[in-house]
Amino acid sequence: MTDATTSTPAAKIDRDGFPTRFRYWMMDDPVAAIGLAVLIGIVLCAIFADWIAPYDPTLQDYGAMLEAPSAAHWLGTDDLGRDVFSRLIHGASASVYAAFLAVGVASVIGIPVGLIAGYAGGWTDEVISRILDTFLSFPAIVLAIAVTGVLGIGLTNAMLSVGIVFAPQLARLARARTLVLKQELYVDAARCFGASTATILGRHILPNAIQPVLVQMTLLMAVALLAEASLSFLGLGMQPPDPSWGSMIARAYIYAQIAPAQIYAPGLAILVTALAFNTVGESLREALDPTARR
């Protein structure tokens, strides 16, 4: 992870603007391009759910319960006669909201803590590192369940607790990068010119430490998505009648004897989205770090 790339082709790419670099990245890794397209599609679904979905996701039709896929209902209907396809599209917003909220909370807590621990060193670092170790030994979902139970059941509380559980992972990465960066000459120079600690951390260390953190954030999106699905499945996340992929699976499972096909669509949606986040994350890691090649 050294920056000694002055004469390599990577240096040329570094001089180009963001659009050019982005184009290089996408051409270099078509699978990641597909992943990114999937993610953009899901975000669009989440934003424009009301316009895309053919039915109201909470509209019940007792004349058409647990129907098989048809022209009217592309993915059939659930036990209350609600259109599964519409619920799937609206479920995307729960997933997107959950993933961004959890990773957002994790980075707002984790990144500053990591920067401070790495930069301050000594006792501050020792104490913060022990706290991070402790939280890393909590099984994530278990802590999220307990915190959700205490704070009150609901999607926002559930994802806040997931975010808190994720924070140490980002803090650790930020800390490790800061330990290396604080010995760089330009950081010394900034200090000599009388820059405050906040300026050094924010303007000189953070921009250079952010790359591995960004990669981890993308990968955590997938974990957050799976956590949202699990918590909603357990009844601790999204509350009825609002749709979430996890709660759709939970509901469909009750009727697995009569209509087993109902459990496939929401699960596939979760799988594809998580896979897309992971693909983009892994590809971003390789694109940003020229030493990591397959």
Partner: protein, 319 residues
């Protein structure tokens, strides 16, 4: 058996666990403090009498300073007193003693499957790095990591318990009562849990094996005319076998968390169902006790694998 360096290393590692233990137990203790409003009233449940609330306040020492409360709680916990369920009145330690072995059984079973399937797949991928087998294994492992395990559990139930009745759809038999039936009942949940475990093990093993096979001393072995087969089996695997320990300790943490959800699918009377039901019914002493038990398990496993690691790999303790 151990040299002084190793002994010093182990002592250091043991001492490092002490602050983690204190912090972890303190966080678990603080869970109840996050409750909005008066904890005593929440713990007493609805329609509790004033005396009952006063009694709870006294029992939990809620009128004393925070650190004293923590010390009392930790001291009681050390003696196996984790208070009792608000609903059934059963001692939390009794509940845990009943359900935890079931969870451990399934977790161990799942980890065993992860290793038995993951290790050969990882070796296969590394031996033909870049080839078709490698691509297939990596693709499967990408999917395995992204699969919601409760969903794959349901698909297994539909396929192997409802459509074909090869395995029971729900339920659990204790391995102490009937080991064979216990394995039969636990197979679907364990395989569902192992989906991500196999992915994790094969991915980690592949990457560390590929790294070692590309290193200088393996180039030397190759130059000396040693066939690839014996380089891989005799030298490569010996070098990565210690890495497996790290993967296993990681797996324990992940699998323990994942069982919580999978247990609900199969209605297994384990930690997962206990913690989820207690959370939904606001039975906080049970939630607290269950979280404590799981965290302590993870910390212990981390400690043991780290210590084994430093004993098995002499390079670590020499640093």
């Amino acid at each position: 058996m151990l040299n002084p360096l190793q002994r010093r290393m182990l002592t250091r590692r043991l001492l490092q666990t002490v602050p983690v233990l204190i912090l972890a137990t303190f966080s678990v203790f603080m869970l109840l403090k996050l409750l909005p409003g008066d904890v005593a009233i929440t713990l007493a449940g609805e329609n509790a009498s004033a005396e009952r609330i006063a009694e709870i306040r006294q029992n939990y020492g809620l009128d004393k300073p925070l650190l004293i409360q923590y010390a009392t709680w930790a001291w009681n916990a050390l003696q196996g007193d984790l208070s009792s369920s608000l609903l059934s009145g059963e001692e939390v330690t009794t509940t845990l003693a009943r359900v935890f072995p079931n969870t451990l059984f399934i977790v161990c079973y799942a980890i065993l499957i992860s290793i038995v399937l993951g290790v050969p797949l990882g070796i296969l991928a590394a031996a033909r790095a870049g080839g078709l087998a490698d691509r297939m294994v990596m693709l499967l492992s990408s999917i395995g990591v992204a699969l919601p395990n409760f969903w794959i559990a349901m698909i297994f139930v539909v396929a192997f318990a409802l459509n074909r009745t090869w395995f029971p759809a729900t339920g659990f038999v204790s391995p102490f009562e009937d080991p064979l039936r216990a394995i039969w009942y636990a197979t679907l949940p364990a395989v569902a849990l192992a989906a991500s475990g196999v992915a994790e093990v094969s991915r980690q093993l592949r990457s560390s094996l590929v790294e070692i096979l590309q290193s200088q001393h393996f180039r030397t072995l190759h130059a000396k005319g040693l066939p690839f087969r014996s380089i891989l089996w005799k030298h490569g695997l010996r070098n990565v076998s210690v890495n497996l320990l790290t993967v296993i300790s990681l797996l324990v943490n992940r699998t323990l968390a994942a069982t919580v959800v999978v247990e609900v699918v199969f209605a297994i009377p384990g930690m997962g169902n206990t913690i989820v039901n207690a959370t939904l019914q606001r039975d906080f002493p049970v939630v607290q006790g269950a979280v404590l038990a799981m965290v302590l398990t993870v910390i212990t496993v981390n400690l043991v694998t780290d210590m084994l690691y430093s004993v098995l790999d002499p390079r670590i303790s020499q640093q």
